[in-house]
Structures are given as structure tokens and as C-alpha cells.
Amino acid sequence: MSNSKPLLGYHDLRGLAYPVKWALAYLGVDYEEKKYPLSQAGLEEYGAEKGNLGLDLPNLPYWKDGSINLTESRAILKYIARKEGNGVLMPSDPIVLAKAEMMENFLWDVWYFLVWRCFHDTEPFITSLKERGPPKWDMLHSFLGSNKFILGDKISYVDFMLYEMLYQYTLYDADYLERYPALLKYKSNFEEIPQIKKFIASPGYLKGPCYHPLFMKYKCQDLTV
């Protein structure tokens, strides 16, 4: 019997794939998951399978939906945003889309300050996060202003990235967003979206870790362990 549900394959953590899961929850997409355990055995399991998954550029996460096999978390997120829910999560106007992609890339860099600080736990990454992060957060906070979502009134795929980033930063430092009331408000509003609230209450929801414990030198509860 063939499996007709799409399949998301990833390590058993939140990582950079959780925006995909938020989007899937928001859109009400039914899918299966292959979760690779966070152990050497889990890595070996993936290593043994990766050549046989029908992936052009094998990596984690992967998404297989019967018509396409994909990797790269942002490509997966945007593919789903275009394909599902009548494309409600993907702006169609070229100027708005340019803003969305600008935000997407801006957020990715700010996110990676945290990822690399945790991965390396050494300079220049520790100082980078400390010194280069805040000016970027200030800009982001100012840009968000009183908007409900990052692009205005309408939710888009970028919001799922932003929320996950806010969640992970507050695991790193619970007070990180205290200087940014608009971002705190944004975060709690996101958690009140009915489909999101339902997913958070579901057994499938994972509080942490976010990054792979075997690779992260910096130890932080729910973030890297």
C-alpha cells in the first residue's frame, strides 16, 4: 500500500525546520514524519539512507510529497507556502515579495548569530552575537512597529521563521526580548493563533532541543540539550 501523505524527514529536534512545521500546522496539512534520533545511531541511520531517498541534494530536512523530493529548509517552506492553502502564505505582489525575501534573508543572518555561537562556543562568534545582534534586533523591532505580522496585516511564510527565531533566542536568554515589547507582543499573539495553539498542545509538539546536542559546544537547556 503506497503512502500518500507527504513526509518530512529531520533530526528529532526543532532546528531550522520548525518554521516548516508551523506553516504545516497553520495550513492544516496532514503529513508524516521521519525523526532521526539525536544519537550516533541516528546519524548513522540517516547516513545509511541518504543515498536512497530520491533526493537531488541529500540533506536534512527533506520533504517528499509524491510529486517532488526537496531539501533546504527555506526552499521547503516557500514551496509549501506556494502550494498549500491557495498560496495564502506567499505574497504575490513583486514589491511585497521583495520585502518578504529581504526580511527572510535578514532574519536568517540574525538567527545564525545564535546558531554559530552555540555551535562554536568561541570567538569571534560569542562577541558577534553580543555586539552585532542588538543593532539588528533594534531595526527589526522598529520595522515591526505595531504591525500584527511582519509584512503588515497578513501573515506570511516569513512570520513562521521570525516566531521560531524569537522562541530560540528566549531559550538562550529568557530576558532577551524584554527591550522589545512589540516583539514580545508579536510572539504571544502568534501563540494564540488557533491552529498554532492546537499544535503547541498536541503530543507532536517538541519543546526542545533546537540544535543537535552532539554538535553544539554551548550547553543550554532546550536549546542545545
Binding site: D56, L57, P58, N59, I68, L70, T71, E72, S73, R74, A75, K78, Y79, R82, K83, P94, I95, L97, A98, K99, E101, M102, E104, N105, F106, D109, Y112, F113, W116, H120, T122, E123, P124, F125, T127, S128, L129, E131, R132, K136, M139, L140, F143
Partner: protein
């Protein structure tokens, strides 16, 4: 008198600027410049000199360009004032030349975005190795050849990443191949398909013409004041 030509602002280098002890990356410019040349777009190429004066010039101007997230490169064309090199590259691919540099069908577009993601990882391997010049970063670079070989296999007999039609992702790919070749001329030897794409790109009439023009920046790629690993053409 107002200047009606669009403005592209960046450092006077091809791409990737890294401040000492920081993670600030001012992204890539050369793929955008190549794309503008390919599309025949007339624009002002505002280049900030690779000196302390250049850095100060930018620092003084940055809040006055109407940019939501002031950074280099920026693109201002009367309709948008934007930053983030990948976003600029794709915006131009959509809005110039009838949109021929970005696919509209879902499968091709997602393939382009998938390759875009892989290319970014591969690029960072080289960037960090050159800017930080540490043992960790030299070791990290070792993760890149397998990714290039996977990409080489994906390219196969295709002329461009997506097949017969060139797209924005070929402009990113070319620049990465160029920079890796400067780092080590033998680096791409196992990747025949990628080397063929590189040569084909350089033969495109619009690209050939641009590379022969006085506007073309042959070097450096990374900022000489901050890149610790010295390689002629790449970092100095």
C-alpha cells in the same frame, strides 16, 4: 535635477565583507552586477572605497537612503529601496528582462531555491576560511567539496542549473566557482560539469562584454583590510 537611474550601492569589491571580530556580512554583489549586465540595465554603480574613508562614507550615509535595514548592498530604483543581496538578485530577476531569469513553474522555482540554499552553505565555508584563517575554519572548509560534487552530479549534462534556460541561481553559482578557483585553481578539478558551466558563463556575449569593460571589478572578492588569509585576486 533628480537622478532617475536606479542605484546599486556596495563596497568596491566583488563580494563578502567581514568586520573584524564580528559576524557582519555585507553579502554578495558580483552576481547582481553580472545579472544587471546580462539584462542590459542602466544603473549607477555606487562603490564605497575599501578604506577607512570608504567605511566612514557609508556610516554617514546609511541612515539616509530610506532603507528599512541599512546595509550593503542596497538597491534603489524609485519603486523599492531594499537590501539583502539574494532578495535584490531575485527582485531584479522578476522585474527586469520580462522575468526571464526566474522560473515561474513550481518545480523549477523550488529547484532554484534548493540550489540557492546549498550554494550559500558552500560559500560560507570559503568566506570563513579566508576571513578567520583558523584551524576550525580550515577544517570546516573540508565539508564543502562533497557538496560541490553533489551539485556537479545534479548539473550533469545540463547547460545551466535549471536546464537550457539560464536563471538567477547561475549568477550566484558562477561567482562561487570563480572565487573557489582563485582560492585554489585545482579546487574544482573533480567537478567537470561545474567547470563547463563556468566557461560557458564567461562566453555569454553580455558577460564577455562586461568583463572587458572598465566598470568590471576583477578583484578583490573579500575585503583586504579584514581577510586574514591572503590570496591574490580573492583577498588582496
Amino acid at each position: 535635477m533628480s537622478n532617475s537611474k536606479p542605484v546599486f550601492g556596495y563596497h568596491g569589491l566583488r563580494g563578502k565583507f567581514w568586520l573584524e571580530n564580528s559576524f557582519h556580512t555585507s553579502k554578495i554583489a558580483q552576481p547582481i552586477r553580472f545579472q544587471l549586465a546580462y539584462l542590459g540595465v542602466d544603473y549607477v554603480d555606487k562603490q564605497y572605497p575599501l578604506t577607512q574613508e570608504g567605511a566612514e562614507e557609508w556610516a554617514q550615509e546609511k541612515e539616509h537612503h530610506g532603507l528599512d535595514f541599512p546595509n550593503l548592498p542596497y538597491w534603489k530604483d524609485g519603486e523599492v529601496n531594499m537590501t539583502e543581496s539574494r532578495a535584490i538578485l531575485k527582485f531584479l530577476a522578476r522585474t527586469e528582462g520580462g522575468g526571464k531569469l526566474i522560473p515561474t513553474d513550481a518545480r523549477s522555482l523550488v529547484n532554484a531555491e534548493m540550489v540557492e540554499g546549498l550554494l550559500w552553505d558552500v560559500w560560507y565555508g570559503l568566506i570563513w576560511r579566508c576571513y578567520l584563517d583558523s584551524e576550525d575554519m580550515i577544517n570546516a572548509l573540508a565539508r564543502c567539496p562533497p557538496k560541490l560534487e553533489v551539485l556537479n552530479k545534479f548539473l550533469g549534462n545540463k547547460k545551466w542549473v535549471l536546464g537550457d534556460q539560464i536563471s538567477y541561481v547561475d549568477f550566484m553559482l558562477y561567482e562561487i566557482l570563480h572565487q573557489y578557483s582563485l582560492y585554489d585553481p585545482k579546487y574544482l578539478s573533480p567537478c567537470g560539469a561545474l567547470l563547463k558551466l563556468k566557461a560557458n558563463f564567461e562566453e555569454l556575449p553580455a558577460i564577455k562584454k562586461y568583463m572587458a569593460s572598465p566598470e568590471y571589478i576583477a578583484a578583490p572578492c573579500f575585503h583586504p583590510m579584514y581577510a586574514k588569509h591572503k590570496v591574490v585576486g580573492l583577498t588582496c
